[in-house]
Subunit: 340 residues, 2 copies
């Protein structure tokens, strides 16, 4: 018989609430902590989200905006707040004295922290000294589709394989297939960096460059992302799985992708400032472009697409000129620097 | 200064004619051999193709339906007829006594030969005993887009690296970036097998399963394709480049893909026979599904998506049941069998 787990979900946004519903439907005892009291109240009363009306929260899920209530007696924590608030969230959690020593944390926020350039699992470890196993949950997963039961595949990656397998059993259901992996850093980097290429694909869409161009951009983007990942200690192969190319495909092609949409606005000639004012939700790719540029320079890894995207975003470079410059670089072996 | 090469292009279809134009614009002396005299005449007179009116052949390209004329004095041959006619084409070429010993052959047809399960490079080598270096040219390249100068990236793969580099210089131009590789078998298999997953993506589109499902299907499809490729002697990494995932993305997502369209018709409930009668051009994926199934069984490599696609195509299995069966298989490590 399946064990019922007590799980705290930190973050009641679209992905957090969607994953909470999966866990509750699998029979677990779930409590959501949501920072914004208005959103928490909406979730409590309407059992849904304004930004995701198709999602229905079962009655068993409890919601709170009080961190101590969410954490008390819970040995599994799902971290799913916006990436730039993960540190503050765990700092707040630490002050409650309710963080259990050795609790397992599943990290489902995608991003790289500004300034420090740390991935989310490392941010969590740096704040929560007594954390147990940390698992990264990633992959191609627009909440809009998971919420209505469309089939999806995810990766649960941890250095502690038993924790990855545990996570797999927590989330697996009829419509969600969860695979295990042992490279959390690779999973984190893929989930974060793909947003840079989603911006670039939006630009290419706006300029009407076609499917070949996008496929080449994605393939080459994956190569430079893999080169950086290897240099940072991740495994090349992780970038070729669900959390790498899988997430890349969905983000670069989907109508749901905010980063692709932002890129499209820029491709149509808007400045970054103009484009950003038209967005209603955060597009992580802009900040990630800065972090990727910083990491590429620190690690001395050539990332021509990231560099051109930064020129377009921050220096108002004409995107057609960027494409031209990318096309006229010297071409060499496809797999340069990718040893397998 | 660039050397002008004398090149025979065997096959005046959309891709053959498009590549011939690239070569001619790069200054080479190009002669197209086209099997169908009507198509050859149309090409000669209209300098274009009925199926690709946006393409314009420069006056320098000569066209013939006489094989001996096409081959005489040409030390580079671009093979680009439909895959199931490559053997017959080279058998015909051999009878002319005009095949130069040691000529370089660039193979740009994608497919696996029925019955023998041989890739195109091997078919060519088995017929043309005195062939020189063989290069596989592959990647995400809908002719419709290359013909109008939209940027694209290709892979030139050969066991003879100098031949891959030579091919790179023949085709490289403002809008075409050509990378080199040393794994022609991997390039051939990726280009052929992707059509099976394009069929599956068409089915998923028809059933309105969404972007997550397609991304998972592509990611997992790439894994099983890679497992088969490794068993056959190809390199895993090749499947993660332009000729593997790049071509997969374009074929699975594009409006131009005939295989995706055929899958869509089947997803809407048509039998294979009904769907095929509605197609105006060959969809290679049906034959490739049979070959892949044969190879998977011979090599004892599990290929669950290929197997389900075969059930849907040949045994009228309900596609929703197939998706359900794929989702409820036991899940394990993501990279099982992929050593890197």
């Amino acid at each position: 018989m399946k064990q019922i787990e007590k799980i705290a979900v930190l973050g009641g946004g679209t992905w957090g609430a969607t994953l909470a519903v999966v866990l509750a439907k699998n029979g677990h005892d779930v409590m959501i902590w949501e920072y914004n009291p208005d959103v928490a109240r909406f979730l409590q009363e309407k059992r849904s989200l304004a930004t995701l009306p198709q999602l229905v929260l079962p009655a068993s899920i409890r919601i709170t905006d009080t961190m101590a209530d969410a954490l008390a007696g819970r040995s599994i924590i799902l971290s799913v707040t916006p990436s730039q608030t993960v540190r503050a969230t765990f700092e707040k959690a630490a002050t409650t004295n309710k963080l259990e020593p050795g609790a397992m944390v599943i990290s489902a926020s995608k991003g790289i922290e500004h300034e420090t350039c740390l991935t989310m699992d490392r941010v969590i470890k740096s704040v929560y000294a007594q954390v147990g196993p940390v698992v990264v949950l990633s992959g191609p997963s627009h909440a809009e589709e998971v919420a209505v039961g469309k089939p999806a595949g995810l990766l649960a990656a941890s250095e502690i394989i038993a924790a990855a397998v545990k996570t797999q059993s927590l989330f697996s259901c009829d419509t969600l297939r969860v695979y295990t992996g042992d490279d959390p850093l690779g999973a984190e980097l893929g989930g974060a960096l793909k947003n840079v290429y989603a911006l670039a694909c939006g630009v290419v869409d706006a300029l009407d460059y076609g499917d070949n161009t996008k496929a080449a951009l994605i393939s080459r983007g994956l190569m430079e992302m893999t080169r950086l990942g290897k240099k940072l200690g991740a495994k090349a192969v992780t970038f070729f799985g669900l959390s790498g190319l899988g997430d890349m495909i969905v983000t670069c092609g989907s109508k749901h992708s905010r980063n692709r949409l932002l890129g499209e606005k820029i491709g149509h000639g808007k400045t970054l400032e103009q484009a950003l004012t038209e967005m209603t939700q955060v597009a992580e790719g802009v900040a990630t472009t800065r972090s990727a540029l910083q990491l590429a320079s620190r690690e001395q890894v050539p990332m021509p697409i990231v560099e051109e995207m930064a020129h377009v975003l921050f220096n108002n470079k004409n995107p057609r000129q960027s494409i031209h410059d990318l096309m006229s670089r010297q071409t060499g072996p496809e797999m340069e620097g990718i040893t397998i």
